[in-house]
Amino acid sequence: MSYFDQLINGFGNALTPSILIYGFAGCLAGTLVGVLPGIGPALTIALLLPLTFKAPAVAMFVLFAGIYYGGMYGGSTTAILLNTPGESASVVTALEGNKMAKRGLAGPALATAAIGSFVAGTIGTIALTFFAPIVVSVALTFGPAEYFSLMVLAAVSVTAVLGNSVVRGMTSLSLGLIIGLVGIDLQSGQPRFTFGGIMELLNGVEVVVAVVGLFAVGDALFLAWQGREKTKKTVIISPKNKWYNWMTKEDWKRSWKPWLRGSFYGFFIGALPTGGAEVPTLLSYYTEKKLSKKPEEFGKGAIEGVAGPEAANNAAAAGVLMPLLTLGIPTSATAAVLLSAFESYGIRPGPTLLTQQSTLVWTLIASLYIGNVILLILNYPLVGIWVKILKIPSQWLYVGVIIISSAGVYGAGRSSFDLALLFFFGLIGYFFRRFDFPAAPLIIGLILGPMAEQSLRQAMIIGMGEWTTFITRPISASILFIAFILFLSPFLIHFYSKRKKTR
């Protein structure tokens, strides 16, 4: 059966009423968490992981995909109306979007973000549909050595690109690697980092506990420490005109090219092992600023500055799914949590996923197309409802977040030790936020660490214990070389810019 036929079958599955309900619930929940600051798609999916024991895999992944896409959509609403991005990729949208809202143009800003997200999400999904099988055919030639090198590249590039400092990024990554190695070694049965065999640590640290602790408990602790939430005045700029009258002909003319350019940036950068949506949104913003016929409007509320980055943000969501589904490599915190969701069903993402779990993959991809339509319908006319949700007092919002988070973690194993661990990760999250350490590399390290160790040991056994196996195989050597250059690049850029200044 060709991939096109499988996609059609996927649409057939995704359009069945029960799956459609999961898709709709995911989009609704995703938009809600995207709108609320401090709760992102990674955290929401992590909290719903205990449910994977109750529902079939296809239904759960359609739900998770809806949450992921919805989170990306919802983030723009708070960025524009409240100047508080719901997630990091919406920071750029807030730059121009909130200025537009202050000028009385909240309607066009929300509309160009919603339609741009729809266009980019659809383009990203089409690209995923066509490129995923190509990547799979290349990945099928990979052995453990290539996989290990690819994981090194993913870990290094995520750390080098995200955050403001390589030292802090690498500290976060290596801490994640150590935490990922906690527990019994599956090959030799030796306990590692278990403090003399603490029973609860023998099975390792659950990704859910780390994600929820770092993002939910850590954020709430940080905001409590700051004590500024009560003094913050929530200035929500509500759009006054009707939703169907939000974009003028001029707005459409100024938006369609940034949508397409943003989609291009978002998908292709999102699909690289570097992953993430932060880089493509920034790149899109600066491109639009350079190409705009009205550059003087940038900084005061230019519609291109909302259209491009929002498109890039949503296309990146599809891009990030590419290395996850085809190589089994997560390049963002959300992808890392999705990977552990796959594992809880006993499914291992990678090149064989498309053949062994074709129904699941193609239903998931089909649901992304449908999800985009659902999200456009949800976001465009329902902005008023999201605005009302934003008026929940912050202290009760965070009480809700912490109790839901604790329930998610406690529900997975009814262990008080996991709750204590949750608080420990919350403290790490608080210190990370306070001292500007990126949290994503810790999660990536936690997930990639054990996977990379397994590939390394397999490669070493195949290579008869010779380390040269990683550099004598051309693909592996090339990937390691790129990783090395990427690792050095921030230092080299710093060195040359310093040298230029002294001249």
């Binding site: 109750k54 290596s174 202290q395 998610g408 008080s416």
Partner: protein, 155 residues
């Protein structure tokens, strides 16, 4: 806590990690690199970058939100952290003996207090309702086992 103290805390964590490396028993099974190679590498990497961070904290100004005049905490940050931690730890200790809803209510009170909300009948009711809603959502609607809503094992 400032940057220097935080970097010293990371050094302490490094020492703990090194101590844990020495506790990994040797395996008699054949393995090209053994069970302790990757942990040693990860800890080595961590120690290296923590030392670099400590060096940077001694030689230049590193970011700390507490130094940012627009973001620095308002007065009594330690007591707010204390209320939060106390509320959360009550939840950890009491969720099994008194059930999810009462321990959740106590946790909610601690967290709301950490956001400068006075403890009153209203805050008790709101915390109770939030804990109750979460228990109903997870336990009744989504069938996630959170244990009993109320328990009196403590008596």
């Amino acid at each position: 806590m400032n940057v220097l103290r935080f970097s010293l805390a990371l050094i302490f964590l490094s020492i703990v990690a090194i101590w844990q490396i020495t506790q990994i028993p040797k395996s008699t099974l054949y393995d090209a690199i053994g069970a302790s190679f990757v942990p040693k590498f990860a800890v080595g990497l961590f120690v290296f970058f923590v030392i670099l961070y400590l060096y940077q904290s001694l030689t230049r100004k590193l970011p700390d939100i507490a130094d940012d005049k627009n973001e620095k905490p308002l007065k009594n940050p330690i007591s707010r952290i204390g209320y939060f931690s106390f509320g959360f730890l009550l939840f950890v200790l009491l969720v099994k003996p008194i059930g999810f809803i009462l321990s959740g209510t106590l946790c909610g009170l601690g967290i709301s207090k950490s956001f400068d909300t006075k403890i009153s009948i209203t805050s008790v009711i709101i915390s109770f309702l939030i804990a109750l809603s979460v228990w109903v959502l997870f336990s009744v609607i989504l069938s996630v086992n959170l244990g009993p809503a109320f328990s009196f094992k403590i008596l």
